[in-house]
Amino acid sequence: MTIRYFLGRLFQGGLVLLAVATITFGLLYLLPADPARLVAGRSASPESVAMVRKELGLDRPLYERYVRYLGGLLRGDLGRSYMQRTEVRELILSRLAPTLQLTLLGIFAELAIGLPLGILAAVSSGRIWDRLVTVWAFAMVAAPQFALGLLLLYTFGYLWPIFPLGGYGSWQHAVLPALTLGLTGGGWYARMARSSLREVLATDYVRTAKAKGLSPWVVLGKHALRPALLPIVAMVGADLGVFMGGVVVVEAVFGWPGIGQLAWQAIQQVDIPIVLGVVLVTAASVVVGNLLADLMYTVLDPRVRYT
């Protein structure tokens, strides 16, 4: 991958972020809720609400607010939370590390559980393992993470207290949340690995390798796996972004101090600066994730070239 291409992608990523920021700004403006009223509280007189609205700058025209916001972004200033008055940057940073940790551990768990099962399903195509894995994949995808998480917590945190009952701080705290994510999300990877590997196994060049008399394990390991992993890599890239928004439930059940909870509360309270900040961070992680995935592509498949 050339430097020029890389810079081009970064530039495009910046444009994508700008577009996301704009759309979010517009959507939040359209919400039928008045942040000034929520900040001023239930006991405020209409005059008090009007004063709060002026202080928050919500009485300015939309484009002025938009331009101010973009200006702030360029300086790295994400504004202050309406409700808490704390800087959004500080709120997000304090919760970014735990969410990133959970994301990485979760993806690792998903791959660790999903890949082997998917490969197993593809290799035993049509027979019992294939069926079982497919059913499991579906069960997990439909399973509410909430219920599974609570179940794991109850079993391994309370009945047989091997792990702590939620919270954050040591690797022991991370096992159950990662396991929950791995079980529920592993299904996607299993199915993707299964279908991708099956396709590759059916291609001519693999069949040729088999016909040449190579042992099935060698065929699998040396010839089939690498190209089959390409879609997986793409999924991981996309997963990174999804995780940032998608681990709310697991964070909630295990008391993991991540971004999800922050975003959820902020949406309820129409705390616009926090919502905008979280959306941008999430979008940025998607862009970065996709870029990393594309980088991995070139490593895995030398035929893929970017100019």
């Binding site: 577009a19 069926r131 439909a142 909430f146 279908s195 999430t282």
Partner: protein, 276 residues
């Protein structure tokens, strides 16, 4: 081709999925006949003196929910919600996705680039946040929920159609049509679309599975269809914090979601293998 079909129709796995899918459709269409009770009726004898729902058995086959309503009836009627939302959302998603994918893939160049960057923006967007915001702005109803799901799902379709259109456009029959002076519109509709049709059917059934899940997720977040309209996700949402007390309220709708998603996915996969 015919061989593949015959193989399919004798595969018990496929038949099971087909049976489930048909059962769900029947439940949805004939809900008033299949459900023993009115799904919105709150029976005084359906909850105990301190407000606990009843477990499965006796008058209420699958138990009652926290308002004393029959769970089985609500699940039957919930099939209707899931299918309406599913068909609608998928239809719209397929339509938008195909349109954008076709145009981007056929014209490529800067139009294609622009449209594909637009899909990039949509994927960068946290889908659930978008759904919540849209639902809040538009006031949820079964149609709005379908629209919101469609707006979140069309991107995948567009991507796939784009890739396929790109590949197809290079084939000789398209070049021939262009040489004969056919308009782009004509080429897209008369020549490309028929080749894309199998993909669309596959995506349709796969999409149905994922829209069922998305609808459940939206109900989870409180932005699904309005009560008392039953929806599988809505039942789980209402009952999830009581799940230690009344696990049937989460287990049975969850099972319904799981089976439906599985069935339509198997159908989609199988069709892909036959036509693929």
């Amino acid at each position: 081709m015919r061989q593949r079909w015959r193989k399919l129709l004798s595969d018990p796995w496929f038949l099971a999925a087909l049976a489930v899918a048909i059962a769900v459709v029947v439940m949805a269409l004939l809900a008033p006949l299949v459900a023993p009770y009115d799904p919105a009726q709150q029976f005084p004898e359906g909850i105990t003196a301190d407000g606990q729902p009843l477990p499965p058995g006796g008058k209420f086959v699958l138990g009652t929910d926290l308002l004393g309503r029959d769970l089985f009836s609500r699940i039957v009627w919930g099939a209707r919600t899931s299918l309406i939302v599913g068909v609608l959302a998928n239809g719209v998603a397929l339509a938008i996705g195909t349109l954008i994918g076709l145009i981007a893939g056929y014209f490529h160049g800067w139009i294609g680039g622009l449209l594909m960057r637009f899909t990039d923006v949509m994927t960068a967007f946290p889908a659930l946040l978008l759904a919540i915001a849209l639902a809040a702005i538009l006031k949820p109803s079964i149609w709005i929920v379908a629209l919101v799901i469609a707006l979140v799902s069309w991107v995948q379709v567009a991507r796939v159609i784009y890739a396929q259109t790109l590949a197809l456009s290079r084939r000789e029959f398209v070049e021939a049509a262009v040489a004969l002076g056919a308009t782009p519109w004509r080429i897209m509709v008369q020549h490309l679309l028929p080749h894309l049709a199998p993909s669309l059917v596959v995506w349709g059934s796969l999409g149905l599975a994922s829209t069922v899940l998305l609808e459940a997720a939206l109900s989870f977040l409180g932005v699904g269809v309005q009560p008392p309209t039953p929806s599988w996700g809505g039942i789980i949402n209402e009952s999830q914090s009581y799940f230690t007390q009344a696990p049937w309220l989460v287990a049975f709708p969850g099972l319904a979601i799981l089976l439906t998603a599985w069935a339509f996915n198997v159908l989609g996969d199988s069709l892909r293998e036959v036509w693929g």
